[in-house]
Subunit: 218 residues, 2 copies
Protein backbone atom coordinates (compact mmCIF):
# COMPACT_ATOMS: atom_id res chain seq x y z
CA UNK A 1 0.00 0.00 0.00
CA UNK A 2 1.08 3.51 -0.59
CA UNK A 3 -1.68 5.98 -1.44
CA UNK A 4 0.68 8.94 -1.54
CA UNK A 5 -1.57 11.79 -2.62
CA UNK A 6 -0.15 14.67 -4.59
CA UNK A 7 -1.31 18.27 -4.38
CA UNK A 8 -1.29 21.43 -6.49
CA UNK A 9 2.33 22.21 -5.55
CA UNK A 10 3.53 18.86 -6.87
CA UNK A 11 1.49 19.29 -10.06
CA UNK A 12 2.87 22.79 -10.58
CA UNK A 13 6.45 21.59 -10.08
CA UNK A 14 6.01 18.76 -12.59
CA UNK A 15 4.40 20.98 -15.21
CA UNK A 16 7.00 23.71 -14.74
CA UNK A 17 9.76 21.16 -15.31
CA UNK A 18 8.01 19.74 -18.38
CA UNK A 19 7.39 23.22 -19.79
CA UNK A 20 10.98 24.37 -19.29
CA UNK A 21 12.62 21.19 -20.61
CA UNK A 22 14.58 21.95 -23.79
CA UNK A 23 16.70 20.08 -26.32
CA UNK A 24 20.15 21.57 -25.73
CA UNK A 25 22.81 21.79 -28.42
CA UNK A 26 26.54 22.51 -28.52
CA UNK A 27 26.26 26.28 -28.79
CA UNK A 28 24.64 26.30 -25.38
CA UNK A 29 26.61 23.81 -23.25
CA UNK A 30 29.31 24.97 -20.87
CA UNK A 31 32.32 22.81 -20.05
CA UNK A 32 31.55 22.79 -16.30
CA UNK A 33 31.84 19.16 -15.19
CA UNK A 34 28.69 17.42 -13.94
CA UNK A 35 29.33 15.93 -10.48
CA UNK A 36 29.06 12.15 -10.43
CA UNK A 37 26.20 12.17 -7.91
CA UNK A 38 24.15 14.36 -10.26
CA UNK A 39 24.74 11.89 -13.10
CA UNK A 40 23.79 9.03 -10.78
CA UNK A 41 20.55 10.80 -9.87
CA UNK A 42 19.69 11.17 -13.57
CA UNK A 43 20.41 7.47 -14.15
CA UNK A 44 18.32 6.57 -11.13
CA UNK A 45 15.41 8.46 -12.68
CA UNK A 46 15.79 6.23 -15.75
CA UNK A 47 15.27 3.14 -13.62
CA UNK A 48 12.01 4.57 -12.25
CA UNK A 49 10.50 4.37 -15.73
CA UNK A 50 7.81 1.81 -16.56
CA UNK A 51 9.03 -1.23 -18.48
CA UNK A 52 7.09 -3.95 -20.24
CA UNK A 53 6.82 -7.02 -17.99
CA UNK A 54 9.18 -5.23 -15.55
CA UNK A 55 11.94 -6.24 -17.98
CA UNK A 56 14.06 -3.08 -17.39
CA UNK A 57 15.74 -3.64 -20.76
CA UNK A 58 18.04 -0.58 -20.65
CA UNK A 59 21.83 -0.35 -20.87
CA UNK A 60 23.77 2.89 -20.54
CA UNK A 61 27.21 3.73 -21.89
CA UNK A 62 28.77 6.92 -20.56
CA UNK A 63 30.95 8.37 -23.30
CA UNK A 64 33.72 10.69 -22.17
CA UNK A 65 36.71 9.53 -24.27
CA UNK A 66 37.43 12.36 -26.77
CA UNK A 67 38.67 9.86 -29.37
CA UNK A 68 35.32 8.03 -29.34
CA UNK A 69 33.35 11.28 -29.22
CA UNK A 70 35.23 12.52 -32.30
CA UNK A 71 34.25 9.43 -34.25
CA UNK A 72 30.62 9.79 -33.18
CA UNK A 73 30.70 13.44 -34.21
CA UNK A 74 32.04 12.29 -37.61
CA UNK A 75 29.03 9.99 -37.89
CA UNK A 76 26.80 12.98 -37.11
CA UNK A 77 28.54 15.08 -39.79
CA UNK A 78 27.95 12.44 -42.45
CA UNK A 79 24.30 11.89 -41.47
CA UNK A 80 23.75 15.63 -41.21
CA UNK A 81 24.95 16.22 -44.77
CA UNK A 82 22.37 13.65 -45.92
CA UNK A 83 19.70 15.22 -43.70
CA UNK A 84 20.37 18.67 -45.12
CA UNK A 85 20.00 17.38 -48.67
CA UNK A 86 16.39 16.40 -47.93
CA UNK A 87 15.46 20.07 -47.80
CA UNK A 88 15.56 22.60 -50.63
CA UNK A 89 16.28 26.27 -51.17
CA UNK A 90 15.52 28.54 -48.22
CA UNK A 91 14.73 25.58 -45.95
CA UNK A 92 18.15 24.06 -46.72
CA UNK A 93 19.83 27.39 -46.04
CA UNK A 94 18.02 27.60 -42.71
CA UNK A 95 19.03 23.99 -41.89
CA UNK A 96 22.69 24.87 -42.49
CA UNK A 97 22.50 27.59 -39.82
CA UNK A 98 21.30 25.17 -37.14
CA UNK A 99 23.62 23.63 -34.58
CA UNK A 100 22.03 20.22 -34.07
CA UNK A 101 24.30 18.38 -31.62
CA UNK A 102 26.65 18.97 -28.72
CA UNK A 103 28.74 15.80 -28.80
CA UNK A 104 32.13 17.47 -28.22
CA UNK A 105 30.88 20.40 -26.12
CA UNK A 106 28.83 18.39 -23.61
CA UNK A 107 31.05 17.03 -20.83
CA UNK A 108 29.06 13.78 -20.74
CA UNK A 109 27.43 11.79 -23.52
CA UNK A 110 25.25 8.80 -22.66
CA UNK A 111 24.32 6.19 -25.25
CA UNK A 112 21.18 4.33 -24.22
CA UNK A 113 20.58 0.87 -25.64
CA UNK A 114 17.74 -1.62 -25.66
CA UNK A 115 18.90 -5.09 -24.69
CA UNK A 116 16.32 -7.76 -25.53
CA UNK A 117 15.65 -10.43 -22.94
CA UNK A 118 16.69 -13.99 -23.70
CA UNK A 119 13.35 -15.17 -22.24
CA UNK A 120 9.76 -14.29 -23.26
CA UNK A 121 8.68 -10.95 -21.76
CA UNK A 122 5.18 -10.55 -20.35
CA UNK A 123 3.33 -7.98 -22.49
CA UNK A 124 5.73 -8.10 -25.41
CA UNK A 125 4.09 -10.72 -27.60
CA UNK A 126 1.88 -8.72 -29.99
CA UNK A 127 3.76 -5.40 -29.76
CA UNK A 128 7.43 -6.26 -30.13
CA UNK A 129 8.43 -2.58 -29.92
CA UNK A 130 7.44 -2.45 -26.23
CA UNK A 131 11.02 -3.14 -25.13
CA UNK A 132 12.37 -0.16 -27.06
CA UNK A 133 9.43 1.94 -25.91
CA UNK A 134 10.35 1.16 -22.29
CA UNK A 135 13.84 2.51 -22.96
CA UNK A 136 12.31 5.70 -24.41
CA UNK A 137 10.26 6.16 -21.22
CA UNK A 138 13.53 5.88 -19.29
CA UNK A 139 15.10 8.57 -21.51
CA UNK A 140 12.17 10.92 -20.92
CA UNK A 141 12.56 10.40 -17.16
CA UNK A 142 16.27 11.27 -17.53
CA UNK A 143 15.41 14.40 -19.48
CA UNK A 144 12.94 15.68 -16.90
CA UNK A 145 15.20 14.83 -13.97
CA UNK A 146 18.16 16.52 -15.68
CA UNK A 147 16.08 19.66 -16.18
CA UNK A 148 14.99 19.62 -12.53
CA UNK A 149 18.69 19.53 -11.64
CA UNK A 150 19.32 22.45 -14.03
CA UNK A 151 21.34 20.19 -16.35
CA UNK A 152 20.68 20.48 -20.07
CA UNK A 153 20.21 17.45 -22.30
CA UNK A 154 20.10 17.02 -26.05
CA UNK A 155 19.05 13.91 -28.00
CA UNK A 156 21.17 13.41 -31.12
CA UNK A 157 19.26 11.33 -33.67
CA UNK A 158 21.30 12.40 -36.69
CA UNK A 159 23.97 9.68 -36.69
CA UNK A 160 24.40 6.10 -37.79
CA UNK A 161 23.18 3.87 -34.93
CA UNK A 162 25.25 0.95 -36.22
CA UNK A 163 28.43 3.04 -36.12
CA UNK A 164 27.74 4.06 -32.52
CA UNK A 165 27.03 0.43 -31.65
CA UNK A 166 30.33 -0.68 -33.17
CA UNK A 167 32.35 2.11 -31.52
CA UNK A 168 30.94 1.26 -28.09
CA UNK A 169 31.39 -2.51 -28.58
CA UNK A 170 27.71 -3.19 -27.96
CA UNK A 171 26.61 -6.82 -28.12
CA UNK A 172 24.99 -7.83 -31.41
CA UNK A 173 21.47 -8.06 -29.95
CA UNK A 174 21.50 -4.52 -28.51
CA UNK A 175 19.89 -1.61 -30.32
CA UNK A 176 20.78 2.06 -29.91
CA UNK A 177 17.67 3.94 -28.85
CA UNK A 178 19.06 7.34 -27.88
CA UNK A 179 22.37 9.20 -27.96
CA UNK A 180 22.26 11.90 -25.30
CA UNK A 181 24.48 14.90 -24.56
CA UNK A 182 24.43 16.33 -21.04
CA UNK A 183 25.93 19.44 -19.54
CA UNK A 184 25.27 22.70 -17.77
CA UNK A 185 23.99 25.44 -20.04
CA UNK A 186 24.47 29.11 -20.77
CA UNK A 187 20.72 29.56 -20.90
CA UNK A 188 17.50 27.56 -21.06
CA UNK A 189 15.32 29.04 -23.79
CA UNK A 190 11.63 29.51 -23.12
CA UNK A 191 10.50 27.71 -26.27
CA UNK A 192 11.88 25.07 -28.64
CA UNK A 193 14.42 26.48 -31.10
CA UNK A 194 12.57 25.07 -34.12
CA UNK A 195 9.40 26.85 -32.95
CA UNK A 196 11.26 30.12 -32.29
CA UNK A 197 12.86 30.01 -35.74
CA UNK A 198 9.50 29.11 -37.33
CA UNK A 199 10.85 25.86 -38.73
CA UNK A 200 7.60 24.18 -37.60
CA UNK A 201 4.46 25.59 -36.02
CA UNK A 202 3.02 24.42 -32.72
CA UNK A 203 -0.03 22.23 -33.35
CA UNK A 204 -3.35 22.86 -31.68
CA UNK A 205 -4.24 20.04 -29.35
CA UNK A 206 -7.88 19.98 -30.53
CA UNK A 207 -6.76 18.94 -34.00
CA UNK A 208 -5.04 15.88 -32.58
CA UNK A 209 -7.77 14.68 -30.20
CA UNK A 210 -10.69 12.58 -31.45
CA UNK A 211 -13.46 10.66 -29.71
CA UNK A 212 -14.11 6.97 -30.40
CA UNK A 213 -12.78 7.22 -33.97
CA UNK A 214 -10.69 9.36 -36.29
CA UNK A 215 -12.86 11.71 -38.35
CA UNK A 216 -13.87 10.20 -41.69
CA UNK A 217 -12.77 12.09 -44.76
CA UNK A 218 -16.06 12.64 -46.51
CA UNK B 1 15.51 33.60 -22.56
CA UNK B 2 14.14 31.82 -19.59
CA UNK B 3 16.72 30.53 -17.12
CA UNK B 4 14.09 29.24 -14.70
CA UNK B 5 16.16 27.57 -12.03
CA UNK B 6 14.75 24.63 -10.11
CA UNK B 7 15.47 23.82 -6.49
CA UNK B 8 15.45 20.82 -4.16
CA UNK B 9 11.67 21.07 -3.66
CA UNK B 10 11.03 20.75 -7.41
CA UNK B 11 13.46 17.85 -7.64
CA UNK B 12 11.80 16.10 -4.72
CA UNK B 13 8.33 16.56 -6.23
CA UNK B 14 9.45 15.13 -9.59
CA UNK B 15 11.18 12.14 -8.04
CA UNK B 16 8.25 11.43 -5.71
CA UNK B 17 5.89 11.42 -8.70
CA UNK B 18 8.23 9.16 -10.69
CA UNK B 19 8.68 6.81 -7.74
CA UNK B 20 4.94 6.51 -7.04
CA UNK B 21 3.87 6.10 -10.68
CA UNK B 22 2.33 2.66 -11.20
CA UNK B 23 0.84 0.64 -14.04
CA UNK B 24 -2.81 0.35 -12.97
CA UNK B 25 -5.05 -2.55 -13.97
CA UNK B 26 -8.79 -3.26 -13.86
CA UNK B 27 -8.87 -4.68 -10.34
CA UNK B 28 -7.78 -1.30 -9.06
CA UNK B 29 -9.77 1.28 -11.06
CA UNK B 30 -12.91 2.87 -9.65
CA UNK B 31 -15.77 4.00 -11.89
CA UNK B 32 -15.54 7.62 -10.67
CA UNK B 33 -15.61 9.78 -13.80
CA UNK B 34 -12.51 11.85 -14.61
CA UNK B 35 -13.49 15.53 -15.06
CA UNK B 36 -12.82 16.80 -18.58
CA UNK B 37 -10.39 19.48 -17.36
CA UNK B 38 -8.26 16.80 -15.71
CA UNK B 39 -8.16 14.84 -18.98
CA UNK B 40 -7.26 18.02 -20.83
CA UNK B 41 -4.41 18.68 -18.42
CA UNK B 42 -3.04 15.17 -19.04
CA UNK B 43 -3.27 15.71 -22.82
CA UNK B 44 -1.56 19.08 -22.44
CA UNK B 45 1.33 17.32 -20.69
CA UNK B 46 1.64 15.10 -23.77
CA UNK B 47 2.17 18.13 -25.97
CA UNK B 48 5.01 19.32 -23.74
CA UNK B 49 7.05 16.27 -24.74
CA UNK B 50 10.08 16.59 -27.01
CA UNK B 51 9.49 15.61 -30.63
CA UNK B 52 11.95 15.02 -33.43
CA UNK B 53 12.21 18.14 -35.61
CA UNK B 54 9.35 19.62 -33.54
CA UNK B 55 7.09 17.36 -35.63
CA UNK B 56 4.59 16.68 -32.79
CA UNK B 57 3.49 13.50 -34.58
CA UNK B 58 0.89 12.40 -32.01
CA UNK B 59 -2.83 11.71 -32.42
CA UNK B 60 -5.14 10.77 -29.54
CA UNK B 61 -8.41 8.87 -29.67
CA UNK B 62 -10.48 8.94 -26.48
CA UNK B 63 -12.37 5.68 -26.27
CA UNK B 64 -15.51 5.71 -24.15
CA UNK B 65 -18.02 3.78 -26.32
CA UNK B 66 -18.67 0.45 -24.51
CA UNK B 67 -19.24 -1.36 -27.82
CA UNK B 68 -15.76 -0.39 -29.05
CA UNK B 69 -14.19 -1.09 -25.65
CA UNK B 70 -15.70 -4.58 -25.69
CA UNK B 71 -14.12 -5.34 -29.05
CA UNK B 72 -10.75 -4.06 -27.86
CA UNK B 73 -11.07 -6.20 -24.73
CA UNK B 74 -11.77 -9.18 -27.04
CA UNK B 75 -8.50 -8.39 -28.84
CA UNK B 76 -6.75 -8.37 -25.46
CA UNK B 77 -8.29 -11.75 -24.55
CA UNK B 78 -7.03 -13.35 -27.75
CA UNK B 79 -3.54 -11.86 -27.43
CA UNK B 80 -3.43 -12.75 -23.74
CA UNK B 81 -4.13 -16.42 -24.43
CA UNK B 82 -1.16 -16.40 -26.82
CA UNK B 83 0.96 -14.53 -24.28
CA UNK B 84 0.14 -17.01 -21.55
CA UNK B 85 1.17 -19.92 -23.78
CA UNK B 86 4.72 -18.52 -23.95
CA UNK B 87 5.22 -19.48 -20.32
CA UNK B 88 5.29 -22.94 -18.81
CA UNK B 89 4.25 -24.70 -15.61
CA UNK B 90 4.32 -22.55 -12.46
CA UNK B 91 5.07 -19.39 -14.46
CA UNK B 92 1.99 -20.00 -16.63
CA UNK B 93 -0.12 -20.60 -13.53
CA UNK B 94 1.14 -17.33 -12.08
CA UNK B 95 0.42 -15.52 -15.36
CA UNK B 96 -3.20 -16.76 -15.26
CA UNK B 97 -3.69 -15.09 -11.88
CA UNK B 98 -2.65 -11.68 -13.17
CA UNK B 99 -5.13 -9.01 -14.19
CA UNK B 100 -3.29 -7.29 -17.02
CA UNK B 101 -5.67 -4.63 -18.35
CA UNK B 102 -8.48 -2.34 -17.29
CA UNK B 103 -10.19 -1.63 -20.60
CA UNK B 104 -13.78 -1.97 -19.36
CA UNK B 105 -13.20 -0.80 -15.79
CA UNK B 106 -11.33 2.41 -16.60
CA UNK B 107 -13.77 5.23 -17.39
CA UNK B 108 -11.49 6.57 -20.13
CA UNK B 109 -9.25 4.76 -22.60
CA UNK B 110 -6.91 6.75 -24.83
CA UNK B 111 -5.33 5.24 -27.93
CA UNK B 112 -2.20 7.12 -28.92
CA UNK B 113 -1.03 6.96 -32.52
CA UNK B 114 2.03 8.04 -34.44
CA UNK B 115 1.12 9.92 -37.60
CA UNK B 116 4.07 10.26 -39.98
CA UNK B 117 4.63 13.61 -41.62
CA UNK B 118 4.09 13.91 -45.36
CA UNK B 119 7.29 16.03 -45.52
CA UNK B 120 10.87 15.17 -44.48
CA UNK B 121 11.37 15.64 -40.72
CA UNK B 122 14.56 17.21 -39.40
CA UNK B 123 16.41 14.59 -37.35
CA UNK B 124 14.50 11.60 -38.69
CA UNK B 125 16.71 10.56 -41.58
CA UNK B 126 19.03 7.91 -40.10
CA UNK B 127 16.79 6.86 -37.17
CA UNK B 128 13.33 6.40 -38.64
CA UNK B 129 11.92 5.33 -35.26
CA UNK B 130 12.33 8.85 -33.87
CA UNK B 131 8.72 9.73 -34.72
CA UNK B 132 7.37 6.82 -32.69
CA UNK B 133 9.85 7.56 -29.93
CA UNK B 134 8.51 11.13 -29.72
CA UNK B 135 5.04 9.69 -29.16
CA UNK B 136 6.40 7.46 -26.37
CA UNK B 137 7.90 10.56 -24.67
CA UNK B 138 4.42 12.12 -24.83
CA UNK B 139 2.93 9.00 -23.21
CA UNK B 140 5.46 9.11 -20.38
CA UNK B 141 4.57 12.79 -19.79
CA UNK B 142 0.89 11.77 -19.65
CA UNK B 143 1.69 9.02 -17.14
CA UNK B 144 3.60 11.32 -14.80
CA UNK B 145 1.03 14.11 -15.05
CA UNK B 146 -1.81 11.65 -14.42
CA UNK B 147 -0.03 10.40 -11.30
CA UNK B 148 0.52 13.96 -10.09
CA UNK B 149 -3.26 14.44 -10.44
CA UNK B 150 -3.83 11.19 -8.50
CA UNK B 151 -5.23 9.50 -11.62
CA UNK B 152 -4.06 5.97 -12.38
CA UNK B 153 -2.94 4.89 -15.82
CA UNK B 154 -2.22 1.50 -17.34
CA UNK B 155 -0.58 0.76 -20.70
CA UNK B 156 -2.15 -2.25 -22.43
CA UNK B 157 0.32 -3.78 -24.87
CA UNK B 158 -1.34 -7.19 -25.08
CA UNK B 159 -3.68 -6.62 -28.03
CA UNK B 160 -3.54 -6.55 -31.79
CA UNK B 161 -2.54 -3.02 -32.86
CA UNK B 162 -4.07 -3.54 -36.31
CA UNK B 163 -7.44 -4.45 -34.78
CA UNK B 164 -7.40 -1.30 -32.62
CA UNK B 165 -6.44 0.74 -35.67
CA UNK B 166 -9.35 -0.69 -37.68
CA UNK B 167 -11.87 -0.24 -34.85
CA UNK B 168 -10.90 3.42 -34.41
CA UNK B 169 -10.86 4.08 -38.17
CA UNK B 170 -7.26 5.29 -38.08
CA UNK B 171 -5.77 6.42 -41.38
CA UNK B 172 -3.59 3.81 -43.09
CA UNK B 173 -0.31 5.65 -42.35
CA UNK B 174 -0.94 5.88 -38.59
CA UNK B 175 0.61 3.41 -36.15
CA UNK B 176 -0.73 2.54 -32.70
CA UNK B 177 1.99 3.27 -30.15
CA UNK B 178 0.10 2.94 -26.85
CA UNK B 179 -3.34 1.94 -25.62
CA UNK B 180 -3.90 3.61 -22.26
CA UNK B 181 -6.53 3.10 -19.54
CA UNK B 182 -7.16 5.97 -17.13
CA UNK B 183 -9.19 6.23 -13.97
CA UNK B 184 -9.16 6.95 -10.27
CA UNK B 185 -7.84 4.07 -8.19
CA UNK B 186 -8.60 2.18 -5.00
CA UNK B 187 -4.94 2.31 -4.07
CA UNK B 188 -1.55 3.13 -5.52
CA UNK B 189 0.84 0.32 -4.63
CA UNK B 190 4.32 1.21 -3.44
CA UNK B 191 6.11 -1.07 -5.92
CA UNK B 192 5.38 -2.61 -9.34
CA UNK B 193 3.08 -5.65 -9.11
CA UNK B 194 5.51 -7.85 -11.06
CA UNK B 195 8.24 -6.97 -8.58
CA UNK B 196 5.99 -7.60 -5.56
CA UNK B 197 4.94 -10.99 -6.94
CA UNK B 198 8.56 -11.84 -7.78
CA UNK B 199 7.81 -12.28 -11.47
CA UNK B 200 11.00 -10.32 -12.21
CA UNK B 201 13.72 -8.94 -9.95
CA UNK B 202 14.76 -5.31 -9.85
CA UNK B 203 18.07 -4.88 -11.66
CA UNK B 204 21.03 -3.14 -10.06
CA UNK B 205 21.86 0.05 -11.88
CA UNK B 206 25.62 -0.65 -11.75
CA UNK B 207 25.14 -3.72 -13.95
CA UNK B 208 23.56 -1.60 -16.65
CA UNK B 209 26.03 1.32 -16.66
CA UNK B 210 29.31 1.12 -18.59
CA UNK B 211 31.99 3.66 -19.48
CA UNK B 212 33.11 4.26 -23.06
CA UNK B 213 32.31 0.66 -24.09
CA UNK B 214 30.38 -2.44 -23.10
CA UNK B 215 32.57 -4.87 -21.17
CA UNK B 216 34.20 -7.43 -23.42
CA UNK B 217 33.38 -11.06 -22.71
CA UNK B 218 36.80 -12.55 -22.24
Amino acid sequence: MDNQSFNADHQQALFDIMRHRRDVRGNNFTSTPIPQDVINTILEAATLAPSVGFSQPWEFVMVTDPHIKTQIRDSFNKANAQGQAQFLDAKQEQYKQLKLEGIMEAPVNIAVFYKPSSKPVLGQNTMKEMGEYSVVCAIQNMWLSARSLNVGMGWVSILCPHTVKRLLKAPEECKLVGYLCLGYVKTFYDSPELERLRWEKRKHLEQAVHTNAFPTAD
